[in-house]
Subunit: 200 residues, 2 copies
Amino acid sequence: MAHRAVPRLKLKLRTDMVSYHPPKHFEKKIPAGDDRTRLVCNQCEWVHYENPKIIVGLVPIYKDKILLCNRAIDPRQGYWTIPAGFMELKETAEAGAKREAWEEARVQVEINALLGVYSIPRAGQVHLIYRAIMDKPEFAAGPESHDVRLFAWEEIPWDNLAFLSNHWALNHYYESREWDSFAPFGVPSEDVEEVAGHST
Amino acid sequence: MAHRAVPRLKLKLRTDMVSYHPPKHFEKKIPAGDDRTRLVCNQCEWVHYENPKIIVGLVPIYKDKILLCNRAIDPRQGYWTIPAGFMELKETAEAGAKREAWEEARVQVEINALLGVYSIPRAGQVHLIYRAIMDKPEFAAGPESHDVRLFAWEEIPWDNLAFLSNHWALNHYYESREWDSFAPFGVPSEDVEEVAGHST
């Protein structure tokens, strides 16, 4: 069902993090009327407001199985993940999650619950992760995936998941798999400290 | 209980929207390895990735009353709103909502539910709005508010609310006021078209 594709690198994951690699002519200062340090271009005084970004994704379910993607791009190339990525402008969160599922796993789904709202201050991200149903076992590796496969719960490659947030989403899916309507899960209490964004 | 404060203008709401007022030396083009048009500085090739921003806010409840703020800043100066604003780096969504409640209404609350997850593609925003309990009727106008007041449901100034999203949050609060745990509401179906972000 799945096939390999030539990975197509995207700059998004790396150049996006301007805090870590801003151009040399950006300096940190407090703009007039503001109360926080921001990155400001010292050539044109343009203020780069950097706010948390939204990651949208979903857990695609076919019968009792879960669809995972093997990443063809860094970070965590070769590891397994649910389809997820940066939400873009001009889309809703649900549309973004479905777009990512199509881009990474060539799968079409129906969203039926918001599974998790995970704040990750360390990464400047909030993840909105949905539960979604596949009505047919049709999927294929998109350009950012080496492989895409359906896994029974007992087959999930726990030691080779790409991100801590994959563990949360999969376990929260499993815990709520027979619930119709429920409050979304947050970051598990044991991981809150791990993902905290302590002021520097 | 509430008092007036001298408004302190913040640039955040306006200069943040770089799409509408980018510096002249930013041009729209597709960066190498990407598949979307982005704003790129033609002097240093730095890519300004612009993704949706998160608005965090809450409906503060004291007994059966709801705390609203009269805005001292544009947009919608003089209109009433729940405390809400841009989520910042290094905080969780809940911490951001509580920070906004403190900044705008000098109120301390306990969050007890995620009330709404509202995607507003037209504005490039996702709103995460919580339900929160005040254990004392203590509050005051922060620098961005002219006034802060508790309103009974029948007293809510519907014709003078600042934003459409205030209507959603207040009605969703009222509908779920006796529920302990529930799936957050989304944009009401009758308003989805109004806030859609059609590609240009």
